[in-house]
């Protein structure tokens, strides 16, 4: 009965979304207030029903209800609780239901709490949001029903892909989905504002928390995904330019650009049309990301199934939404009045440079990701575009972007003096030059990109703190702290990337128990191989001790795991984290002479990459809280003033 209830809830939610769209469309046409009032309650009800449906699916997974096809395919009754839970969205149908659930809840949230936007624009936004949701409801109900029953009922399920049985999976996909959906809300706002021709600072202020929220989740999702790939795949790399990674990176790049342009719109009422365009692009990138991952047209661990029907469905949705939005943009862009103006050397100018560079990087990643698919479709040639392309194409631009990032916050709005800027930024420039000189002198064979990256990271790290210089720290607004921390996080991550790619040391040996392996200042003693067992796996575990110089002994235990249900093997890397880097040990296969393959890396400062990512997200979070609090205060003051009048 649970599965049927879930399906009914899903149908009801779909019907409510249709009603929400119709109410909005008719309401906007006739301008009747009662429609406006009704659409809010409908949006809330839709959110509740779709959430109910998702909760019931989780319930089915937790109970291991083997009469439901989806549970059979993706779960098994002997599996730790957390993976039963996360198995709910570790598959196509479940993840689509999660998507539409988050979207429904976001709509309900807007309906309940959005007060600063004009009513007409709000109604148009909710109608747009319902229209997007409808496509996903249709997708779920027509081609990927998560509640489908299975007859006869099998004794047990097939289990979850062992690579995905990891705490990281429990949080990684939902985080990205929150980001994607946040961008869909920003897109709905843009559509709403275009429909009612209400593009201005108020609209930007209403949209900004959603963009920030989406951006925080995308940042966290990418950071977590990168770390997951790093320790779970056992290849020692943290970014592979895999199309699935790009599928998350492209919306992030667009969201980063949007985040900065929306600030110009909110603060200075400039870049109106451009901001609308970016909102459309950012959502398009989310849809393309979903399409790439969900359609299974890519070579990747994330493409769980190869199913052309689903791919075509998402592609059709993509065409409708993006085509529709572009058409609306083309029709309405002429009516968007020009915003306020600025000089080239100004805060706005730096933000325009930021937007241009981000857009170009986005374009290059986009070309590199889709070009092989296009070539294959046209000529049939199979082609792969890998890290050499992406590093060469985007690396120099990313460094330029980081340099602009150092200067931007030190510029005044509207107009500034170039020499004054040079004065303000002289210390970071000197530090970068000094670092560059020292690195060129004392290191050998660092790549140019890494050399520049590390030197720049040092200067930018300092420059990013400069906006707090000589300020009353207690009266500095929270969102300024947010910006400073986020920019500082970028410098930290950049330093980590440059160090990892330049100073990593590696050793690959076939070792017997009793052997010693030396890497950098580390000595690893291979003591024994022992069998161990977990809840649903057995493993061979290497017991090793690691010692840094004459320091303390650390126990480390890389494993080779066999999963009973899926008949597959994964290697669990052992990581030893120190303040200055990470020791990364992978156990390979054994041979007939009793030797075991062991691969050891010493990666200086590699953890900074993810610490940086977390700082960036934290900065975003502070900025969002700061903006929301200020918006709330201003509204209260306005209401108070109106009450007095």
């Amino acid at each position: 009965m649970i599965a049927e209830t879930g399906l009914i809830a899903l149908w009801l939610a779909a019907a409510l979304a249709l009603l929400q769209f119709a109410l909005g469309a008719i309401g906007l046409r006739t301008g009747r207030d009662d429609y406006y009032a009704a659409i809010r309650s409908v949006a809330v009800a839709q959110g509740l029903f779709v959430a109910l449906s998702f909760l019931l699916l989780i319930w089915l997974f937790l109970r291991s209800d083997m009469s439901v096809r989806l549970v059979v395919m993706n779960s098994v009754s002997v599996k730790p609780f957390i993976y039963k839970f996360s198995g709910t969205w570790g598959n196509h149908e479940g993840s689509m239901l999660l998507w539409v659930t988050v979207m429904g809840l976001a709509g309900a949230f807007i309906a309940l709490f959005e007060r600063s936007l004009k009513t007409r624009t709000l109604v148009a936004t909710l109608a747009a949001q319902a229209f997007i949701s409808l496509g996903f409801y249709a997708f779920l109900l027509i081609s990927s029903n998560p509640f489908e029953r299975m007859f006869p009922v099998p004794a047990d399920g097939q289990g979850l892909n062992p690579l995905l049985q990891d705490p990281g999976l429990a949080f990684h996909p939902p985080t990205l989905y929150f980001g994607y959906v946040g961008l869909s809300v920003a897109f709905s706002f843009a559509v709403g504002a275009m429909i009612t021709r209400d593009v201005g600072a108020a609209f930007a202020k209403a949209m900004r928390p959603w963009v920030l929220g989406a951006w925080i989740f995308l940042t966290l999702g990418i950071t977590a995904g990168s770390y997951w790939a790093y320790y779970e795949l056992g290849w020692g790399g943290w970014w592979f330019w895999d199309p699935v990674e790009n599928a998350a990176l492209m919306p992030w790049l667009a969201a980063t650009a949007l985040l900065h342009s929306v600030t110009v719109l909110a603060t200075r009422d400039g870049l109106r049309a451009w901001t609308l365009m970016l909102a459309v692009v950012a959502f398009s990138m989310s849809m393309i990301g979903t399409f790439l991952v969900r359609s299974g047209i890519l070579t990747s661990v994330h493409a769980f199934a190869v199913d052309p029907e689903r791919g075509s469905f998402i592609l059709a949705l993509l065409a409708i939404y993006i085509g529709g939005a572009m058409a609306l943009f083309a029709l309405r862009v002429g009516t968007v009045k020009e915003g306020s103006r600025f000089e080239l050397v100004s805060r706005e100018g730096a933000l325009v440079a930021n937007n241009l560079l981000l857009s170009v990087i986005l374009g290059l990643v986009f070309i590199g990701t889709l070009y092989p698919l296009l070539v294959e479709a046209v000529t049939g040639d199979k082609l792969s575009v890998g890290p050499p392309y992406f590093n060469l194409a985007t690396g120099p631009l990313a460094l330029m972007l980081v340099a602009v990032m150092a200067a931007g916050p030190l510029l005044r709005w509207r107009r500034d003096n170039p020499t004054a800027l040079l004065n303000r930024i002289s210390i970071p420039i000197l530090m970068t030059a000094a670092a560059l000189f020292a690195l060129a002198l004392f290191t050998t064979d660092m790549s140019v990109l890494a050399l520049l990256g590390l030197a720049l990271a040092i200067g930018v790290g300092v420059a990013s703190l400069a906006p707090l210089w000589k300020r009353n720290l207690r009266r500095t607004p929270l969102h300024t702290y947010g910006m400073v921390i986020a920019h500082f996080g970028i410098a930290v991550a950049l330093a980590g990337m440059a160090c990892e790619s330049s100073f990593t040391e590696e050793k690959l040996v076939a070792a017997k128990p009793g052997d010693e392996i030396a890497v950098n200042h580390w000595t690893l003693k291979f003591e024994a191989i022992e069998p161990v067992a977990g809840p649903n796996w057995t493993a061979l575990e290497a017991r090793m001790t690691a010692q840094y110089g004459d320091g303390a002994l650390h126990q480390i235990t890389p494993q080779n795991r066999m999963f009973a249900a899926a008949q597959t093997q994964t290697s669990e890397a052992a990581l030893l984290t120190r303040w200055n880097g990470q020791l990364y040990v992978v156990l390979g296969d054994g041979d007939s002479e009793g030797r075991w393959q062991v691969r050891v890396w010493w990666k200086p400062f590699v953890t900074w990459i993810w610490y940086g990512g977390i700082l960036v997200a934290l900065g975003g979070f502070l900025a969002m809280i700061g903006r929301l609090r200020r918006g709330y205060k201003q509204r209260k003051q306005r209401e108070y003033a109106e009450a007095i009048v």
Partner: protein, 149 residues
């Protein structure tokens, strides 16, 4: 600055950025995109030694041969019609087994041996690398125990 001028400068900047990106992109793509080869493609097209290519096919049953150093492995990749010898130094991927799909990035050496730098195996029992979809699997060596019917 007048509004018109400002818009013009911005549009010009955007144009320059776009053209630059296009040029950079095509340049990098021409240089760095590697073509995908099956063993029969290698026989037919004879890529030069040293060009980075991506090789895909099935690991032939009984062909995996470890070498004396314990970390290098030699095996044969086949696609039903042709065979290609491959050598790889490193830990083989978790799902690398005989009779299973594999994608290797690397280059041919002067003796016609494919020196792989990275190996990708099919990731789970449901999944076939995109490049391998077209290969005829009727040689009977590839097990199609897919779970999803």
């Amino acid at each position: 600055m007048k509004a018109k001028h400002q818009r013009l400068t911005l549009a010009l900047l955007a144009l320059v950025a776009l053209v630059g990106a296009g040029l950079l992109g095509t340049y990098a793509l021409q240089d760095q995109a590697s073509y995908f080869y099956t063993p029969s493609d290698i026989v037919a097209k004879k890529p030069e030694a040293g060009t980075p290519i991506r090789l895909g096919g099935m690991v032939e049953e009984g062909s995996i041969e470890p070498s004396a150093d314990g970390v290098t492995v030699q095996f044969i990749v086949q696609d039903g019609t042709a065979r290609q010898k491959v050598t790889y130094t490193g830990i083989t991927p978790d799902l690398f087994v005989e009779g299973s799909g594999v994608v290797a990035d690397g280059r041919l050496d002067a003796n016609g041996m494919f020196v792989a730098e990275t190996l990708l195996a099919k990731h789970d029992e449901n999944y076939i690398p995109r490049e391998l979809e077209d290969i005829d699997m009727t040689s009977g060596e590839y097990k199609t125990e897919t779970l999803v019917q």
